[in-house]
């Protein structure tokens, strides 16, 4: 049965163009009266409407047992066929006009080998049905269960993560740009005026400038919270049909389905500010998920216990406590943090550039506590089913991956690591960044950890116990 998109779709498309054309038409009227510009606008509007209707008439989609086909026959004919077993996620989103008309955009993601398809737009009801049908694979719709939900209070954590802190500047910039362009189009901007404005700005009383700066400083966190809330309003994580569905957004409501069988683990990230407040971010590691940083998000900001309990409902309990790495790793972390600025400082002294040397020297001193903190954050643990590794200071990350998700081991030892008896163990995982490392473990610990998780892979290559090395 071949289906069409919702008839109201072309209204949404046309409305968007109408707004743009009206603006252009109004400008035309202002500048030249009932001139050619006005008729051009009208013609453009009519053409746009015809285009949208034609698009709607010629676009159909067919749901087969094994695939979904998207047919387009406007200019050339094209049939896009997406095999249903390749579909990795079905996202539903709706902008404000879509929501007013009860429509939703369905985005079908089929990974690298299947491509992706978009249905823009169908009714909300049809969108839900498509998602259910495309993701279930012959299962009756099981009940859904809420795994986690953002609380109101958590939205004030937004400035801690640095998220959207620069929003006021971006807004001010785009506002100024718009004013300038509009003024330029209308011929209001001349060299003298720009120069006058420049003189006025320079001549402003200091108190006013200070006040402006303070307003900006206050606006930064406030706007950050507002924009963060807009994007993440009522962030809810549900379990449905073997998928984990994360829904969020106030104006544009967006929902991302992550298939359980493609889930390999989770990651908890935070920065020093968030650590002080006990806040963390939770993300999912999914095989073959594009734009994973945004789409794999399970909680954008939450107190650590809440994030951990959601993580345990998604992959299972987080193994712990983490075992610290040997003492030798500390000096290595500190040296690696200090060496780059110190090296530049030495070069600057040789080149006779005292100021560069001072700055780099100060950076090198600051790098010492950073290196120490990097060492403190190193850790690893396994509970027989999941491996957890943690590293990083300015952006600390703890990753939890299932043992069954590990597709290989890589052990790296530089000359310096060999002298210190250290080794970095990478667990290769076909999701997220592809590999997660336990940095600077003691060498026997690294091998023992890998051997404990996948004994069959390592045992044939272990040295026979000939003598006890101390």
């Amino acid at each position: 049965m071949s289906l069409r998109l919702h008839p109201l779709t072309f209204i949404v498309g046309a409305v968007r163009e109408l707004a743009a054309l009206l603006a252009a038409g109004a400008t035309g009227l202002l500048v030249g009266g009932m001139s050619t510009a006005f008729y051009f606008t009208l013609a453009g509007l009519a053409f746009g409407l015809v285009f949208h209707v034609a698009n709607w008439v010629t676009f159909t989609y067919v749901l087969h047992n094994d695939r979904i086909e998207l047919r387009r026959a406007l200019v050339g004919r094209s049939v896009k066929s997406i095999p249903r077993d390749r579909i990795r996620g079905v996202d539903i989103s709706a902008s404000l006009p879509h929501r007013l008309l009860g429509l939703a955009i369905v985005h079908i993601d089929a990974g690298a080998d299947g491509g992706e398809g978009e249905l823009n737009a169908v009714s909300r009801h049809e969108a839900e049905r498509l998602r259910r049908v495309l993701l279930t694979r012959d299962l009756p719709a099981p009940p859904q269960r809420v795994l986690g939900r953002m609380r109101r209070r958590w939205y004030v954590y937004a400035p801690l993560s640095g998220a959207y802190l620069l929003t006021p500047f971006a807004l001010a910039g785009s506002l100024l740009g718009t004013v300038y362009n509009l003024g330029d189009d209308l011929g209001l901007i001349t060299r003298e005026r720009v120069a006058n404005v420049g003189h006025d700005v320079v001549g402003l009383p200091t108190a006013l400038v200070l006040a402006l700066i303070i307003v900006m400083l206050v606006a930064m966190p406030v706007m950050s919270v507002i924009v963060f809330t807009l994007f993440n309003w009522d962030f809810t994580v549900r379990e449905r049909d073997g998928s984990i569905v994360a829904e969020r957004g106030l104006v544009t409501r967006r929902s991302v389905s992550l298939e359980r069988r493609r889930l390999r683990g989770v990651e908890l990230t935070d920065n020093p500010f968030e650590r002080m407040a006990g806040v963390t971010r939770l993300g999912a590691l999914i095989t073959g998920l594009g734009d994973a940083a945004h789409r794999g998000r399970l909680l954008p900001a939450a107190p650590r216990p809440a994030a951990e309990s959601l993580a345990s409902r998604v992959v299972g309990a987080i193994p712990g406590p983490l075992k610290p790495h040997p003492e030798a790793a500390r000096s290595r972390r500190v040296i690696r943090a200090v060496a780059p600025p110190a090296g530049v400082a030495v070069l600057a002294v040789l080149a006779g550039q005292p100021w560069v040397a001072y700055v780099c020297g100060a950076l090198a001193v600051l790098a010492v506590p950073l290196g120490l903190d990097r060492y403190r954050q190193l850790g690893h643990a396994t509970d027989g089913e999941r491996l957890s590794v943690r590293s990083g200071a300015l952006r600390r990350r703890q990753v939890v991956v299932e043992h069954s998700a590990i597709v290989g081991w890589r052990i790296r030892r530089t000359l310096f690591q060999r002298r210190l008896g250290l080794a970095t163990l990478f667990a290769a995982v076909g999701a997220g960044e592809g590999g997660y490392s336990a940095t600077d473990m003691s060498e026997p610990d690294a091998i023992a950890l890998a051997a404990a998780i996948t004994p069959a892979w390592l045992t044939p290559f272990l040295e026979p116990p000939k003598q006890e090395r101390t």
């Binding site: 396994t382 790296r412 030892r413 000359l415 990478f426 290559f461």
Partner: protein, 183 residues
């Protein structure tokens, strides 16, 4: 040391990996040496050019401390290149080893920084065998074992062609037979 309380240790003695069984072909030394020679030769030529150009131009835009010392650049590049060409290939040859057991590909690569890599045959997605022009001259080939993860993908260079071809075919067959959900 903290070895006494290994909860998850393999046994009473600290576990150690033995090196993989097979060395690569000794001709690989020549291959790496030629490669380094080409790259560092080019770098040396560029350094000479830059030094000559900057030395003659008497350009005011550059700070004096730089123009005075730019003559050192070709020497630095030359010495580094000489070291790389003479030391690195032999060092790499001593490190590079490989072995394929029943279900695992085990390799050791690198020189200054060494990497041990264990990839189970069941998780292999593709096996490529390739030859650059230097390798063609020397009768060598490189095998690339790819998994779903870049970290878990290995490359063994410097194998004799016949060994590489046989190994690639054998691995591809077995990977196909053993393949589980290889992600």
């Amino acid at each position: 040391m903290r070895r006494s309380h290994h909860r998850d240790g393999g046994g009473p003695h600290p576990p150690r990996l033995r090196p993989p069984a097979h060395r690569v072909s000794p001709r690989a030394i020549a291959h790496w040496a030629i490669e380094y020679l080409l790259v560092w030769g080019l770098a040396f030529g560029l350094a000479l050019g830059v030094a000559a150009w900057l030395g003659d131009s008497g350009w005011d835009a550059l700070p004096g401390w730089l123009t005075g010392r730019v003559g050192l650049l070709p020497y630095i590049v030359g010495i580094a290149g000489l070291l790389m060409v003479t030391v690195a290939p032999v060092w790499r040859y001593r490190v590079h080893r490989w072995e394929v057991s029943a279900d695992v590909v085990y390799t050791r690569t690198g020189w200054f920084s060494r990497e041990w890599l264990l990839v189970p045959v069941g998780r292999i997605q593709t096996v490529d065998s390739k030859q650059g022009w230097i390798e063609r001259l020397l009768g060598l080939a490189t095998i690339e074992v790819n998994t779903a993860s870049h970290t878990g993908s290995s490359e063994v260079s410097g194998l004799p062609v016949d060994v590489a071809t046989r190994l690639a075919e054998d691995l591809a067959h077995r990977a196909h037979d053993l393949r589980d959900d290889a992600t």
